[in-house]
């Protein structure tokens, strides 16, 4: 049962009879009258349970984009249904205000019996992951508008919020460089990591050393060989979802920033897009002490949707990452030489106790790239000179950076490439490293 403001006004109107007959009996009589009127209104209101509700939700939406949840509400109560319908969503689904104020996803409805209405709630998610919908609450108000009924129907629904992939703006420039790599092959000193592509006519400027004399003799025209970077190399992206990935980076003032994992996901998406266009086979595994997500066997146009789908639900787990387990995963998936990208953190303590112990097992068989998300706040701390207070901060940051540098040096000594970049720079830096390795034929 619900009351409206009219019930309160009706009760307050009791002041008039009470002033005319100032006794306790008048109060009781008026209160009883109000109760009877409310009960009658509730009895005459349409049933909040006898309603058919269908919910239409897009299966997925990219973070930052707008979508909508649609309800079709059909009145089967054999009475006129007047009231409010609320389409409930979690806060981070970003449901918009509808026709009724007081909160998101509220719609005023006025339905004759057996009629239906379509209600649209705009959604603008602010966070990656699955957003299960709440119930649909129907509040019907009686003909007097004084009281009514309310019931919440459990209408299942789920909206999957895919990663934003903001780093896709870097993709065109990196693709251009990839094509340059292709074209440069003819003039480049060929070596390991490049393969014979085709023969074409000599043009002025080509390296004379790449002239294929045998073909020239056959054609009677000067012909050069062209080379291109090797294709069908294998790339395994390992996403560390352990406790260090939960830390927030990019905090500005009271804004707490995004988890480190989100920056890693952006980098993973850009690298996958680039590598799949370059003809390499990309796999992904998200791991802390168990496999949290896995993408394998998807190629071409199916790769990126599969990536986005499986990365959308990956969340940081508050556990220490099991690095021997990571090595096991890599061995299981990669039998031949591959590019193994570890998206993690160069947290000195965590690296010393985990990654350093096993990185040599990986570098022996594979090309390893360790990509780490740095924090701008540390850089700001290191620059503080305003007071002795800030200088202590700066000293701590300087010490931390030295230790990070030492960990980097150790990893490089084992033959791993190390990238330590701010969240926004990590994805392009990782793409550049990939291109450089490809150009050098080190994949």
């Amino acid at each position: 049962m619900v009351l409206t403001w009219r019930a309160a006004v009706l009760m307050a109107a009791g002041v008039i009879p009470v002033l005319l007959w100032p006794t306790g009996g008048t109060v009781v009589a008026w209160a009883l009258l109000v109760v009877v009127v409310c009960a009658a209104d509730v009895a005459l209101a349409a049933s909040a349970r006898r309603v058919e509700v269908q919910r239409y939700v897009p299966s997925s939406v990219r973070l930052g984009e707008r979508t909508a949840s649609r309800l079709v509400v059909r009145n089967v109560s054999e009475r006129r249904l007047r009231g409010v319908v609320r389409d409930a969503w979690p806060p981070s689904a970003g449901a918009g205000e509808a026709s009724v104020g007081g909160g998101p996803g509220r719609h005023a409805v006025d339905l004759p019996d057996l009629e239906a209405v379509r209600l649209t709630t705009t959604l603008r998610p602010v966070r990656r992951g699955d957003r299960p919908a709440g119930g649909v609450t129907v509040r019907t108000i009686g003909p007097l508008g004084i009281a009514g009924r309310q019931h919440t129907l459990p209408v299942p629904g789920r909206l999957r919020v895919l990663p934003e992939f903001a780093s896709r703006k870097h993709l065109p420039s990196r693709m251009a460089r990839l094509r340059e790599l292709d074209g440069r092959a003819a003039v480049q000193v060929r070596g390991e990591g490049t393969e014979f592509d085709s023969l074409r006519e000599y043009v002025v400027g080509d390296d004379v050393r790449s002239i294929d004399w045998r073909a020239t003799a056959r054609r009677g025209d000067v012909v050069v060989r062209t080379w291109r970077p090797e294709r069908d190399r294998r790339v395994l992206i390992v996403l560390d979802t352990g406790r260090t990935s939960a830390a927030r980076v990019g905090a500005v003032g009271s804004q707490i920033g995004a988890p480190r994992l989100d920056a890693s996901i952006e980098a993973a998406l850009l690298l996958s897009a680039l590598a799949s266009r370059a003809g390499d086979r990309v796999e992904l595994v998200a791991y802390d002490r168990a496999v949290r997500a896995r993408v394998q066997g998807a190629a071409g146009p199916r790769l990126m949707p599969a990536m986005a789908e499986s990365l959308s639900v990956v969340a940081p787990v508050l556990l220490e990452t099991d690095w021997p387990g990571v090595v096991g995963q890599v061995r299981e998936r990669m039998s031949q030489r591959a590019l193994v990208v570890l998206l993690t953190t160069l947290d000195p303590a965590a690296v010393e106790n985990g990654l350093l112990g096993v990185v040599d097992q990986l570098t022996r068989e594979h090309q390893v790239v360790v990509a780490s998300v740095a924090d701008e706040e540390v850089a700001r701390m290191a620059a503080g000179r305003e007071s002795s207070w800030e200088v202590y901060d700066a000293a701590a940051a300087a010490r931390g950076n030295l230790e990070r540098g030492a960990a980097t040096t150790m990893l490089r000594r084992y033959g791993a490439e190390v990238i330590d970049a701010l969240p926004d720079d990590l994805a392009p830096r990782l793409a550049d490293t990939y291109l450089a390795l490809k150009a050098a034929g080190r994949l």
Partner: protein, 427 residues
């Protein structure tokens, strides 16, 4: 928002928007069947009510055996008077403890003793008048000045004079002679020389005990109420004096004044007294709220209260349950750095802080100057000095000098290192 009226079938109603994939429509007709009476909830409510009832019952029937009111005959603590009351009872004195002036007024009469222990605040004039009207012998323990004036007609005054000097009571009161030495504070003086004054204070003008005859009864005044306290009644001759005063008659009324006692505010009956109700509390008819408010105000207040209830129900009913959402943890990645900085600050670890700043600056400059990672201090110093045209000593002092002595020097060092580094990067 799009609203479309008319009967629709799910297939026709399926909205197509934005080209996004749509999930199959889950259809719910009606809700779950109406549930019966919630016996489980009712059971919990009954259990809680029963628990509260039991608690109240236990509280009501297990009242503490003693009391913690100071000077009460039931109080066995240091500040109680139970020891004295029990000894008096053993010697055939009937002790009635009362807490209101009315009970004292009704209970004590001529040929009995009334002892008045110190009031937590003060007696009202009417109450003093009523107490003075009692015919019994009176023992006043540390009385407030108005009470003392009323009982002794202003002949006795209180003025602190210090502890009692040794050497006996120095008076002829029989009980005092029996008690010999008491351990009390003195501070009573008699203005007109009448009455008995015992136990003078050392050096000052004041006595611990004064007895005056007033209105055909004895009035004993004790300056120091610790005479009857459990913890000090056995000191010296205190007990003898107390037993002699309080045990003079077979009936003793023991008044422990209560700060909330409002009986006899208008003095003894026969004077200009008001009406009391059965509990001894005054109920003047003009005090009730209904009589001061205009006619019909009380029912209006009731209507307004019920309106408030209706508003509460209207505003308090939420439109459906809250939707919960698991949120990721909030840990700043710089938290460990900040923790280390706090540690440095907490112990004023200027040496460590300076070493960190210096090592970091030296590392960056060495990289900039293309020195090997293994380059030692001398090599770095020489290279930096050459790049900045500073003296080797100056650079060595900056990079490898002694730790700063205070926070100011630490800040100064940080700035100097910044300057040095900017010069290297410029070169």
């Amino acid at each position: 928002m799009t609203i479309m009226y008319g009967t629709t079938s799910p297939g026709a109603a399926g909205p197509r928007a934005g080209g996004g994939p749509e999930e199959g429509p889950p259809v719910v007709v009606g809700g779950p069947a109406r549930r019966g009476f919630p016996w489980k909830t009712a059971g919990w409510v009954a259990l809680v009510v029963a628990a509260i009832g039991l608690f109240v019952f236990v509280l009501a029937f297990t009242r503490p055996v003693g009391s913690n009111v100071p000077f009460s005959t039931a109080n066995a603590d240091d500040d109680g008077g139970r020891a004295l009351a029990q000894v008096l009872g053993d010697h055939g004195v009937t002790v009635h403890e009362v807490h209101t002036v009315r009970a004292a007024f009704d209970g004590a009469s001529a040929g009995e003793t009334l002892v008045i222990t110190p009031h937590p605040a003060y007696f009202e004039p009417g109450q003093i008048e009523a107490l003075t009207a009692v015919g019994a012998d009176v023992v006043l323990l540390a009385p407030d000045p108005q009470l003392l004036d009323s009982f002794t007609d202003g002949r006795v005054e209180e003025w602190y004079a210090g502890p009692v000097a040794g050497g006996g009571p120095a008076c002829a009161v029989p009980g005092a002679r029996a008690a010999q030495d008491v351990r009390l504070e003195a501070g009573l003086t008699v203005t007109d020389g009448s009455g008995d004054t015992c136990w003078p204070a050392a050096g000052a003008d004041g006595f611990a005990y004064v007895r005056v005859r007033s209105d055909d009864r004895w009035v004993h005044v004790i300056y120091d109420p610790s005479l009857i306290r459990n913890d000090s009644v056995l000191a010296g001759g205190n007990a003898a004096l107390a037993l002699w005063m309080l045990g003079a008659h077979d009936d003793l009324t023991w008044l422990v004044p209560d700060i909330f006692d409002t009986t006899m505010l208008d003095g003894p009956p026969g004077g200009s007294g008001g009406e009391d109700d059965g509990a001894g509390r005054p109920l003047p008819p003009e005090a009730s709220a209904g009589s001061v408010l205009p006619q019909g105000a009380i029912p209006v207040v009731w209507v307004l209260a019920l309106t408030g209830l209706a508003v509460a129900i209207w505003r308090g009913r939420r439109l459906g349950p809250l939707v919960t959402e698991p949120l990721p943890v909030l840990v700043r990645s710089a938290e460990t750095m900040r923790g280390r900085a706090r540690l440095y600050r907490a112990v004023r670890a200027r040496g460590h802080a300076a070493a960190g700043l210096r090592a970091s600056a030296a590392h960056r400059m060495a990289q900039r100057l293309g020195l090997a990672r293994s380059a030692d201090a001398t090599a770095v110093t020489d290279a930096v000095a050459a790049a900045t045209h500073r003296s080797t000593e100056q650079v060595a002092h900056l990079l490898y000098g002694p730790p700063p002595a205070d926070d100011g020097e630490l800040t100064e060092l940080a700035r100097s290192l910044d300057n040095l580094e900017s010069e290297v990067h410029r070169s």
